[in-house]
Symmetry: C2
Subunit: 366 residues, 2 copies
Amino acid sequence: MNARRVGIVGAGQLGRMLALAGYPLGIESRFVGDGPTSPAGRVAPIRAAALDDRAALTALASEVDVLTFEIENVSIPVLSEVAKRVAVFPPPAIVAIAQDRLAEKQLFESLSIPTAPYVVVDSRADLERVGNALGWPLVLKARRLGYDGRGQRVAKSIEALLAGWDELGRVPAIVEGWVDFERELSLIAVRGAGGTQAYYPLTENVHRNGILVSSIAPYVDAGPQRTAERWLGELMARFDYRGVLTVEFFLTSAGLVANEIAPRVHNSGHWTIEGAETSQFENHLRAVLGWPLGAVGVRGHAAMLNLLGHVPDSATILSIPGAHLHDYGKEPRPGRKVGHCTLLDPARDRLLARLELLRTAIERAN
Amino acid sequence: MNARRVGIVGAGQLGRMLALAGYPLGIESRFVGDGPTSPAGRVAPIRAAALDDRAALTALASEVDVLTFEIENVSIPVLSEVAKRVAVFPPPAIVAIAQDRLAEKQLFESLSIPTAPYVVVDSRADLERVGNALGWPLVLKARRLGYDGRGQRVAKSIEALLAGWDELGRVPAIVEGWVDFERELSLIAVRGAGGTQAYYPLTENVHRNGILVSSIAPYVDAGPQRTAERWLGELMARFDYRGVLTVEFFLTSAGLVANEIAPRVHNSGHWTIEGAETSQFENHLRAVLGWPLGAVGVRGHAAMLNLLGHVPDSATILSIPGAHLHDYGKEPRPGRKVGHCTLLDPARDRLLARLELLRTAIERAN
């Protein structure tokens, strides 16, 4: 028994899949989060507490070998304080950046990673100027606490932009010029002790209303892979990163444009559970524990389809040959990510046909 | 959320892997067994109780959708009583047979499945006659409660046979003629609602002192597969079986000879976690819940190596590319099954070479 305990802040599906990846390795995860009926709380011990609850995180830190998180909206002061008691990975410094759209932009710029042009807005007057600077449409993004399309508004006119800012509560924000992208891709990297690294293949993602709908990997054109790997390698080295790091990109006619970083396992990497030799979840745990990283070779082509709102009757999905179901144990709610399915196939065209079958079966069951 | 609850009797590593296979499907397992530090108790709710504790099993039955077991040494009277309250799969009738070497022999005979010649022994006088009937060496097997080589003695003389019977406590037994086998194979089948069936490929097993050491799948010669599938199909149909069924065979120059049945998931099927599209654990759960069975296609060649005594330092195993570790969360004890490793490779010869590397690394770490 190699018993190791990992503390995880946040108890959603990412935490759940981390815990489930850990058990076979003898790793027991313990959580701070929503409580025993949360996705992670259903599979591992949990303290019901807010993610910035100093006492809960301190108690968790005292009983684990390393502390990590499944969400970037954690309290940096609390995390930094806890980091004095137990190793915390990924480094809180990069989490602070991922929490702030402006800091994220500046990080990309400092590493010469292309990103959409932007303007910082703190006032109505700032907003009134951005249309001239960047053209239309524009994307308004609150600087803090945005994910799954929350805290964002696409505006095609100054009126819409001002209304959007009102809706966001007139918070500090940035406005981005529109990126005319062909595709959305993400790269999932993992960096372990001593700077060892591994990169999954670029994944192609489809979003709807800011929420990830499906992912397909590997992306067909290996060209951008090298570029993206170089960028993530430099980014991770700067922070002496440990764990999984995800960067979302737009692919434009001029190449990759970085959109967002997530210092954690990522929805666009769920296909790695069945589709790669070692999943992003297992590799994140190996990295934060200082264990050797696992091989990231892929098993043919993989597609991941998010289940939104509710999980269809299990027979609907399980009767499709080779469909792998992941039910997060959540109560149904419109638009909520409640599970996902993964399909694998050696041939990409056959995979895409089967993905359509799966999509149709799920829609018909709804 | 498709929340289903499965009750599982027995809380060892098989139960643990069932629970871990269930979570992604939204299946929550609950156990009766050794308690919270047992392999299954570390990953799911458990009632600490003996496996024949009527009150504990009745309570478990009242809160689950279906009841199953990870071990055949359960109490048939208790299981049959519980079966009046909740569906119990596999059927208790076949479990009763798997508990009794004589009944097992008679089952094989009734289905015309070849098995080693045998004699029933209840007395010293019986023992003194068997050498003449079956030749030497002989295998003495207690009729009840044998697994992992326990309750068995190989005897090369009448003196050894009598001494062996004394050691076993002079219990009712059978004596088998020696089977001159080339290899040991096992077939793992699964049968679902409505008689749907799926068969994993024959697995080649290596035992030492009656304990499984390693398995390699698929077995190179597809010839015996059809025969074995036909036998298991007939056997399962007779009991209207639901769940995973394993039969261990000897491969002799005259073909397959059935050795033992296990009405449950089996150590020789652990490679299916990574090596097959759907693992034996997931398929057992699907079958007992009446869900569609999962595809059993294999991913190249797979090898499984049991970890006996203690789990080596995680880096020892995890630094071998593509080695998958399963640590059961058990305290070390000489000879105890505490975990296993799985390797996959598209090429069988390369797989065997890597298996030797892994074996050497583990031995060197001990």
